[in-house]
């Protein structure tokens, strides 16, 4: 029975999606009144390069998703195991043993410079993403794909090392397919500065129109695209780093859409008559990470934080609910572990360490950390209970919150000093594991496979591992492995829950907050396919009704000069 479920469901899904694709293809560009308009989107940071394997920040991803395509897009509901719509592939099927997925590329698919998209491009893309010299930051997430082969010019086959629930997600959505004929000759070690990064050629429904350095990136509709031309004539990404300018530009209509993460700005703008707000699910969480080993000396246990009791006591001493509410209002919630609630395998029923300052004091007493008469800092055998917290100055939120945390722990008899450093120093010391405690933040994907890189024994012991706090518990690893090896999400869930319960009980960190962002957009815009993980995924199908267009929506398509 178990053998047959995956392929059967997949075939049904593939058929349904193929039908849906035919249907949507027929309606997309036929409605002439929907065609036209320009949207200006605020961008916090200018991309370095628009080559997909080099992606480093969300702004790059938003632009690249318009120019390039994956084999399939995650559907509107964001269910990793069943909800996809066609991208470059118009259908797909599973091999009988579920260790291979066959993608049938749309035979009409073409690169924006003319040549057809071939299965060999898919194979080349996989090779590029997994080449260590290129530096794709989520390369470990592709580790379970063994290889990609081209069965014929329009059929690409992904071969997996083993079966697991997120096979399709990994193969279909993680790779934005790039043209082999342009990139094959580029030296991979210096791809970061390849000129193609500023002249990207993809198969998506928008192509690069004009890139004005430090100011804007204009994408224009690819009117000859095989999916049909986008409804919008153009999408302009305007680099706006200053928050006052962003607020003003949104209010005055200079910018149509922005992602907002500061409560003050959200409060000001959400009731603007021209704007509509949409809350996005959280995929970022921040935490106070304890180093269980001596800074820079992984062989020796940390004098303080090797002790799970002390870690738990500190967790109990911080009123996270109050802290998060006062800092973020409705734009964040208290974190429950190394996950966010938006992840399908996250479990909100997991019991976390609750705030209990008197309980924390009792626990510290029982551990021997007592408060000598007349002193304000606890001691054990003459050693004061004090440590420093590494904080990046570039994070205003963390810089503010650490002061409150410092005060909370002071009341408990724990002396905390704030070690505020700039971003470069922060990353360097994080990588060298040169800290007692660090106020760190992570971005996660819907999949929990990234936990392997950050919290397992192997990543703690690897020279270049990302388990910066040196947390080790084989029980957590075993549950996580079981969850990731399960055949579907339902059977993965109990293992994931046990993994999360294990790590939360071990308290390798104080889980502080998961932030949400709000997307504010002009009301004349009619968005579709607002995928929970990526509001921008369906941008090509967004429209602006003719009656509501502004003068800039009526400019029409003009030949953009590069």
């Amino acid at each position: 029975m178990r053998e047959s479920i995956g392929p059967r469901i997949s075939v049904l899904v593939a058929c349904a999606l193929a039908l849906a694709a035919c249907d949507s293809g027929a309606t997309k560009s036929d409605d002439a009144s929907a065609v036209g308009g320009s949207i200006i989107i605020a961008m916090q940071n200018e991309p370095r390069s628009l080559l997909p394997p080099l992606i480093n920040q969300i702004d790059e991803k938003i632009v690249e998703d318009q120019i390039f395509e994956p084999l399939a897009w995650l559907g509107d509901e964001g269910h990793l195991d069943r909800d996809y719509r066609p991208g470059l592939a118009d259908s797909w099927s599973w091999e009988r043993d579920s260790t291979a997925i066959v993608f049938h590329l749309n035979p009409k698919a073409r690169w924006q410079d003319g040549p057809p998209v071939r299965a060999s491009d898919v194979r080349f893309t996989f090779g590029l993403y997994t080449d260590s010299i290129v530096g794709f930051k989520d390369r470990s997430s592709l580790a379970r794909i063994d290889s990609v082969t081209a069965r014929d010019s329009v059929t690409a086959v992904f071969w997996f090392k083993n079966r697991y629930p997120e096979q399709f997600y990994d193969a279909a959505t993680r790779l934005l397919i790039v043209p082999e004929h342009l990139l094959a000759r580029e030296p991979r070690a210096t791809l970061l500065t390849s000129a193609l990064g500023r002249q990207p050629v993809g198969s998506g429904r928008f192509r690069l129109g004009k890139w004005t350095p430090n100011a804007s990136i204009e994408l224009v509709a690819d009117t000859a695209n095989y999916h049909g031309r986008p409804n919008l004539d153009r999408v302009v990404f305007a680099v706006t780093t200053d928050q006052t300018a962003l607020r003003t530009r949104l209010t005055t209509g200079e910018i149509d859409l922005a992602e907002v993460s500061t409560p003050a700005m959200f409060r000001t703008l959400k009731d603007q008559p021209d704007l509509r707000a949409r809350m996005n699910p959280a995929y970022d969480y921040s935490f106070l990470l304890f180093n269980t080993r001596k800074p820079k000396q992984r062989q020796q246990p940390n004098a303080l934080f090797a002790d799970i009791g002390l870690r738990r006591a500190i967790s109990m001493g911080i009123d996270r609910a109050k802290l998060v509410r006062s800092q973020f209002d409705s734009l964040a919630v208290v974190s429950t572990g190394p996950m966010t609630r938006a992840q399908p395998l996250a479990d909100s029923t997991i019991v976390t360490i609750a705030y209990d300052s008197s309980g924390a004091a009792r626990l510290l007493d029982s551990l021997g950390w007592t408060l000598p008469a007349g002193k304000t800092v606890r001691e054990r055998r003459g050693q004061p209970l004090k440590f420093s917290v590494l904080v990046p100055t570039v994070s205003a939120n963390r810089m503010t919150m650490i002061v409150v945390i410092q005060e909370s722990l002071r009341k408990l008899g724990v002396e905390v000093t704030v070690d505020a450093v700039d971003g470069n120093t922060f990353v360097g010391r994080l990588g060298a594991r040169d800290f007692d405690v660090v106020f760190h933040g992570m971005h996660v994907e819907p999949s929990v496979s990234g936990l392997r890189a950050s919290w397992t024994v192997a990543s703690a012991r690897a020279a270049n591992g990302l388990n910066f706090g040196n947390y080790e518990n084989p029980r957590f690893d075993a549950h996580l492995d079981s969850a990731l090896a399960a055949r579907d999400l339902a059977s993965a869930r109990p293992h994931a829950k046990q993994a999360f319960e294990t790590i939360v009980a071990d308290a390798p960190a104080v889980w502080i907050y998961e932030t949400r962002t709000a997307t504010l957009m002009h009301k004349r815009i009619r968005p579709v396919h607002l995928v929970s993980t990526a509001w921008w995924a369906g941008l090509a199908d967004w429209s602006i009704p003719a009656a509501e267009r502004l003068p800039r929506d009526r400019v029409g398509l003009r030949v953009a000069s590069r």
């Binding site: 500065t193 350095p213 430090n214 607020r247 971003g423 990302l466 800039r552 003009r558």
Partner: protein, 323 residues
């Protein structure tokens, strides 16, 4: 004059060389490098970053990198930008014209407003109006650029919607406008950043100009002019101001470095894609070549400002010319 100019140019070249070398040294000694600059890059393994460093020669000894840098500089090549495709000089070439337009306009505004206000105050020295304007100019001169820029944004964009908030041109409409429309579009976008810089600079100029005029007004030739029946206004604008302009004009050259410093903040607030904004982003990302290039551009402006001040001084003051 030629010898003087040659000497100043030689001094200037030395200053630029020292500035370039110092910025090379400081930016390389600062924590991190181009590949450890962002927090996100923590998820890229150190071995990959080591590969990048080797590919771009950042794993070589600092002295070797410095010698290579000097070789490139001698050929007029700053080397490749480490964080964006193309040479660093191309990134600077995109940004510098925008900054020059902004600084040039601000400089003109600085002197028109500053000289006008200073002269107006000098004409009514000691009056209540003089005291009010004097205090006001002191306050304006003390304001930080980013604060005044934010106030202008809230006032002229958010409240009265007179000017656009950011950028050099309208991102969508500009190319569709007529020639006149495009000029107006540019001027509208230039207005607030230039006014911010210009107003801040003019407050100091006004104080200098007032003081310079007060030095000139009691002199004999002014008294003679008045004795001959020339009107006060004519005396002020034709006789006194021409003589009082000498120190102020010299300030024009010396204002360039200050304006450039102010432009860093103003460009951020108004999303003006100029040198200051580029330099700030490059420093944040440790894009060594662009940071050094921006520093060299700053040094060039300082040197050029100094030479310009000397030349202007010689042009307006015959005594200096004679020397």
């Amino acid at each position: 004059m030629r010898r003087f100019l040659a000497r100043r140019l030689a001094h200037g070249a030395a200053v630029i060389f020292i500035a370039a070398s110092l910025s090379f040294l400081l930016v390389h000694l600062a924590p991190g490098d181009p590949f450890s600059a962002t927090l996100d890059s923590a998820s890229i393994s150190p071995s990959v970053k080591a590969g990048w460093r080797a590919a771009y020669g950042l794993d070589r000894p600092l002295l070797e990198q410095y010698v290579r840098f000097l070789g490139q500089l001698a050929r007029g090549d700053l080397g490749p930008s480490l964080l964006q495709p193309g040479p660093a000089s191309a990134a600077l070439a995109d940004a510098v014209p925008n900054t020059l337009v902004l600084m040039g306009t601000a400089l003109v505004l600085t002197f028109i407003i500053g000289i006008g206000v200073g002269s107006w105050q000098a004409a009514r020295v000691g009056s209540r109006a003089d005291r009010v304007v004097g205090n006001a100019s002191l306050i304006v001169a003390s304001l930080p650029e980013f604060w005044l820029a934010a106030v202008f944004l809230l006032l002229f964009v958010y409240r009265f919607r007179v000017f656009p908030a950011a950028g050099v041109v309208d991102l969508v409409m500009h190319d569709s406008l007529s020639f006149t429309g495009r000029v107006i579009d540019r001027l509208r976008h230039l207005a607030l950043p230039a006014l911010t810089l210009g107003l801040l600079g003019s407050a100091s100029i006004a104080r200098y100009q007032r003081a310079a005029l007060l030095d000139v007004l009691p002199q004999d030739f002014i008294r003679t002019a008045r004795a001959k029946g020339v009107t006060d206004r004519f005396v002020l604008w034709r006789h006194a101001l021409r003589n009082a302009l000498v120190p102020t004009i010299v300030l024009a050259g010396l204002s360039l470095p200050t304006l450039l410093g102010g432009a860093v903040f103003v460009e951020q607030v108004f999303s003006w894609p100029g040198l200051g904004r580029l330099a700030a982003a490059a420093f944040h990302a440790r894009d060594y070549q662009v940071v050094i290039g921006a520093t060299i551009m700053g040094a060039v402006l300082v040197v050029a400002g100094g030479i310009l001040a000397d030349l202007l001084h010689a042009v307006v003051d015959p005594r200096v010319r004679a020397q």
